[in-house]
């Protein structure tokens, strides 16, 4: 796309009136380094990460090395504390430095991440210099908004070679600046060998000639700092039960199929769990028919299970199961998911004879509905989903939204729904994002498993957002299924009306499959 000559933006007349004048930034120290970062365009978050920096409470790294014959130790900890700096709620990251085993500096550094660009901004630091256990100074302390200082960038969201930028912008006290000098430096540390680190050269006009190199590994952060190397790392604290009423009754249980899962028992009306990529986590409760329901998630997500207050039942042993030692609360559930991505899978099902390890749970002759009756699965603020596996779920309610409501959220592999049945003034939904089913898999797409989608209130089923006529799926597949007690469900004919949120009718192609 290179054109050899200058081209000007014109209204009509192609006459050249071309001029480029080098501008002058506010910072006169060294115009080669960027000091204006369009921070006004950022929405800041104080928990998160980019490829080379982790700002998650509890995350800690330890670096060790030697300088002038003395051992140096630095411990960097992302604290569970925030501080308002220059109008932005920043996260506090503490750095403790030891020389020869003696504490010489504790700094509290303030960071926030620009959500739009993933740049990690540095808003300043409080510094306590120590000598013999006493604070003797505050060298290098600075704060955005004070003395004309503004936030600098510690780590850009995208690493481009040659980029030069101020990390600190206090003209008198702190002017560290970095240049990205490599993207593929190998660094060998006692913790691990990192094949491709990003490397900065740091200088400061306040101490000409001083140079230091830092290396950052993807998914980890700082692994080398001038003379010290990563020796220990502690992952961010991941309390599974984030808030609400839930007991973590089992942790790291290995299922016979090899999966490792955590079991949370809902003990009140609502619980929120925060899951990450490494584990499968479940919340259990009783549905209105007395079936034990498991809401199971793998991958990144924040999942909230809330039982409707009208149908809520207090904790009691499950009447239909042989499990007198465990008390379940019950009710019609709404499941809300945020923070999910294309690696997140959610599965909602009942505990039945075909999926339970403990077959003694099921009394002889007991009749089960063997479908998880819940109201709604709602997915928001998520980059995507891997799969929604609710073949054993019957969504029903007489008010509000019923079914799957994930506007704009694409689902990579498949959406399975047992059935949806809205009564009263409830609105049935099969709503998820365009661009779904991009990952090749067996039995992909939207599948209604054993259900007929007949709505008690004869409502039309919402499959597209307001103003859109494009559902998240090309074809709706009706297929057979097996309930959790082993009962077979045959493929149903589906003859419903589909609409967008405005009520405009949408033609849906329906295929029937028996698998």
């Amino acid at each position: 796309m290179i054109k050899d000559g200058p081209l000007d933006l014109v209204s009509a007349v192609p006459e050249i009136d071309f001029e480029a004048i080098a501008g002058t930034g506010y910072n006169q120290v060294d115009p080669e380094f960027t000091d204006d970062f369009r921070i006004e365009e950022c929405s800041f978050i104080n928990v998160g990460r980019n490829a080379y920096f982790i700002l998650e409470p509890g995350f800690q790294i330890t670096l060790e090395g030697e300088e002038d014959g003395k051992p140096i130790l630095k411990i960097v900890t992302v604290l569970d504390q925030t501080r308002l700096v220059d109008g932005v709620e920043t996260r506090v990251v503490e750095e403790q430095e030891f020389e020869d085993g003696e504490l010489i500096e504790v700094s509290r550094n303030f960071f926030a991440i620009c959500q739009e660009t993933s740049d990690v901004f540095y808003f300043g630091e409080d510094v306590d210099d120590y000598e013999d256990g006493e604070i003797v100074g505050h060298g290098g302390a600075w704060l955005a908004g004070v003395n004309g200082a503004r936030p600098g960038i510690l780590i850009p969201g995208t690493i481009l070679l040659g980029a030069k930028y101020y990390q600190e912008t206090d003209l008198e006290v702190a002017l560290d600046r970095a240049e990205n000098v490599a993207l593929d430096s190998e660094v060998v540390t006692p913790y691990a060998t990192f094949a491709e680190t990003f490397e900065t050269l740091e200088t400061t006009p306040l101490e000409p000639g001083d140079e230091s190199f830092k290396n950052y590994a993807p998914g980890i952060g700082l692994v080398f700092d001038d003379v010290i190397f990563l020796t220990e790392l502690t992952e961010a604290s991941t309390d599974l039960v984030d808030s609400g009423s839930g007991d973590l009754v089992g942790e790291d249980i290995t299922h016979p199929d090899g999966n490792v899962y955590n079991q949370i028992l809902l003990t009140g009306q609502s619980v929120t769990m925060r899951t990450d990529g490494s584990e499968i986590s479940r919340v259990s409760f009783l549905d209105p028919n007395g079936d034990i329901v498991q809401v199971e998630t793998s991958g990144n997500a924040v999942v909230t299970v809330t039982l409707d207050s009208d149908s809520f039942t207090d904790a009691a042993p499950p009447a239909k199961y042989n499990q007198p030692t465990v008390s379940y609360v019950g009710g019609l559930a709404t499941v809300q998911v945020t923070g999910a991505d294309s690696s997140t899978f959610i599965s909602i099902f009942t505990v039945g004879s075909i999926n339970a390890v403990n077959q003694a749970l099921f009394p002889e002759g007991e009749e089960y509905d063997a479908m998880a009756d819940i109201a709604l699965l709602e997915i928001t603020n998520s980059a995507g989903m891997g799969g929604i596996l609710c073949a054993n779920t019957r969504f029903n309610n007489s008010t509000g939204d019923v079914g799957l409501k994930a506007p704009g959220v694409p689902v990579a592999v498949r959406v399975l729904i047992g059935d949806i049945d809205a009564s009263g003034d409830a609105v049935p939904n099969i709503l998820f994002g365009e661009g779904s089913f991009t990952v090749a898999a067996s039995n992909p797409g939207l599948r209604i498993a054993g259900g007929d989608l007949i709505q008690t209130n004869e409502a039309d089923i919402v499959v597209a957002e307001s103003g859109s006529t494009t559902p998240g799926f090309d074809t709706l597949i009706s297929q057979n299924n097996v309930k959790s007690d082993g009962t077979e469900q045959v493929t149903q004919s589906i003859d419903e009306t589909f609409v967008n949120e405005d009520g405009d009718e949408i033609t849906v192609t329906i295929d029937e499959e028996t698998i």
Binding site: M1, I2, K3, D4, P6, L7, D8, L9, V10, S11, V13, P14, E15, I16, D17, F18, E19, A20, I21, A22, G23, G25, E32, F33, T34, D36, F37, E41, A51, E64, G65, E66, P71, I72, L73, C114, E116, T117, S118, P156, G157, T158, L160, L161, G162, A163, K164, Y165, E179, V181, A182, L183, S185, E186, V188, P190, E199, F213, F224, F229
Partner: protein, 210 residues
């Protein structure tokens, strides 16, 4: 604890790396791509159109850039088609269809390739510098970054032997006067390509008029 470490440590980073290296690999695996969003430097909102004109070697040059209401899937990413029409002395000389998408996480505008039709006397006579990510080892480049930092060097086109435009961010505060208006704080990119040593170009991107 620390003193025992020193001898076992080894740092193999190439400090003396060629300072003229241009970034040619980007973490696109971390990106969620969108193709219809506004970007302050390179909007992908369909219908956006920019017209440029100038004179080179005594000939009037025009370029019309139009964000089309069309997408095209390249290496699994649904990209936006941006048409560029090059006109010399009133005659159409080139129509290219360029494929772009924005990384939602970083706001970088990625360039996935282009189809090119070269015209002479109204007839297509060639397809010079066409390239496509996923073909012959080509991968997406960055047209403009989400955050422009001085000194940044990166390939806009990563198609070995076919298209290797690369740029350096040389100013964030350029003032450009055009017939349409004066633009301040423009991003200035200095463009070269190893395929044509000596060919240099300067481009300015503005967030808007004053």
């Amino acid at each position: 604890m620390a003193s025992a470490l020193a001898l076992t440590l080894l740092l193999t980073g190439a400090y003396a790396q060629n300072s003229e290296d241009f970034t040619d690999s980007f973490r696109i695996e971390d990106c969620t791509f969108i193709n219809d969003a506004y970007h302050p430097l390179w909007s992908l909102v369909p219908g956006t159109q920019l017209a440029y004109a100038g004179i080179e070697d005594g000939e009037e040059i025009e370029q019309i850039i139009t964000v089309l209401d069309e997408t095209f899937t390249v290496i699994g990413v649904e990209t936006r088609v941006v048409e560029e029409r090059g006109i010399e002395d009133g005659e159409l000389v080139e129509v290219s269809r360029n494929y772009f998408a924005i990384c939602e996480e970083t706001n970088d505008v990625y360039y996935f390739g282009e189809d090119v039709d070269d015209y002479e006397n109204g007839e297509i006579v060639g397809h010079e510098s066409a390239w496509l990510s996923g073909v012959d080892g080509a991968t997406p480049g960055i047209l403009v970054p989400g955050t422009a930092l001085l000194g940044s060097r990166f390939f806009q086109e990563v198609a070995p032997g076919l298209a290797e435009d690369r740029v350096e961010v040389v100013s964030l505060s350029a003032t450009v006067e055009t017939p349409l208006g004066t633009f301040e704080n423009a991003l200035e990119l200095f463009e070269t390509t190893p395929l044509e040593p000596g060919v240099e170009d300067t481009k300015f991107f503005s967030q808007g008029s004053d």
